[in-house]
């Protein structure tokens, strides 16, 4: 086969497979994905708005809040607001990735996104989680003063159970995402 036209004809004469899905299925699937991504962004914005509003109220009333409730609540809601904001920025960033760029440029663009996502999954997630628990922890001694012993023990047991469960869930989720991100980055690099 020493003529390029023969190679081209060999290529174009491949028998096409019978299409499993028709064009209507493709449009319906695309619309479904767009709606689902819009819904996720919508929920993210709702969560961010609520936490930002609570954070605003805490900041307004900060001078009148007694130690350690002011700094404790501030740390807790600041961490949630920060994490939610970054998640929304990440969602919008992903939606705005331009898949119609030449491959090399697209690769650079998507690598930047996935590296940022990796930082978000590791450093940012665990820093905000630490800030959240720090905020909560400094309020525990004050709870002891305000609550009856039985209630306090109940709260303490709840925390001792829920914190490890929540942490394990979060670490597992982060590990899964990190594994996926590392695979993509290794492929693109």
């Amino acid at each position: 086969m020493n003529n390029f036209n023969n190679i081209q004809s060999l290529w174009s004469n491949q028998e096409p497979q019978k299409q499993n899905k028709n064009v209507d299925y493709i449009k319906a699937e695309a619309k479904k994905r767009m709606q689902s991504s819009g819904r996720r962004l919508g929920w993210g914005i709702i969560i961010l708005s609520i936490t930002a509003a609570i954070l605003g109220i805490i900041i307004c009333y900060l001078p009148s809040l007694k130690w350690p409730f002011g700094p404790g609540l501030l740390a807790m809601f600041l961490s949630v607001t920060l994490r939610s904001s970054l998640e929304i920025i990440s969602m919008i960033w992903k939606q705005r990735l331009n898949i119609a760029l030449p491959t090399q440029q697209y690769k650079c663009q998507i690598l930047r996104y996935y590296r940022a996502r990796k930082t978000l999954t590791t450093t940012v997630t665990f820093s905000t989680l630490a800030l959240y628990f720090a905020g909560f922890s400094i309020m525990i001694p004050a709870f002891y003063g305000y609550m009856q012993t039985l209630y306090f023990i109940g709260v303490l047991v709840f925390i001792l159970v829920s914190v490890p469960v929540f942490s394990i869930f979060l670490i597992k989720k982060s590990k899964e995402e990190l594994k996926e991100l590392n695979e993509i980055i290794a492929l693109l690099d």
């Binding site: 086969m1 081209q8 491959t103």
Partner: protein, 160 residues
């Protein structure tokens, strides 16, 4: 913004081309190429707002196809050159042509990513100007690379 009817026309016109590009990326595996071609058209519908110029529609379709194929490879790593499928061939069951096609898939699979994209466009008969536009390189650069790649493909196919 593309209307539903325009999209149907695009689908009918470009599906065979996109499907063959996907076959090139999936080493001739038809079910995988079919899924990938479907994914490309879903992306085309989702990202239709990114078409800046209707005249550059074919470049836009090829770019979206390549980028979708590139991102899908990690899900299909298991398809190596040892597993190239028997590819049906038209107009008749020509055993020699079928073997040649398998060889062509092996050659394509060994190419670097940018060479692979260029080879697939060349095989589709896309002209130099459009290849340059799709790959985001100058026409002169494209001409040089195309010349080298055509020779490479011919040489390797001669070793059949």
């Amino acid at each position: 913004m593309i209307t539903e009817e325009e999209f149907n026309n695009i689908y009918n016109e470009y599906h065979p081309k996109v499907y063959r590009l996907c076959l090139g990326y999936m080493s001739g595996n038809q079910p995988l190429a079919d899924d990938l071609a479907q994914e490309v058209f879903i992306k085309l519908w989702e990202k239709q707002n990114s078409i800046k110029d209707q005249k550059a529609l074919s470049s836009w379709i090829y770019r979206v196809s390549f980028n979708t194929c590139m991102m899908s490879i990690r899900n299909n790593k298991k398809y190596s050159s040892n597993e190239i499928e028997d590819t049906p061939y038209q107009p008749e069951q020509d055993q020699e042509a079928s073997e040649s096609l398998k060889q062509l898939y092996r050659i394509i699979e060994k190419l670097k990513a940018d060479e692979k994209n260029m080879a697939l466009l060349l095989l589709e008969g896309v002209n130099t100007e459009n290849i340059a536009e799709v790959l985001g390189i100058t026409k002169i650069n494209a001409r040089v690379k195309i010349h080298r790649l055509r020779s490479k493909l011919k040489d390797e196919m001669e070793h059949l």
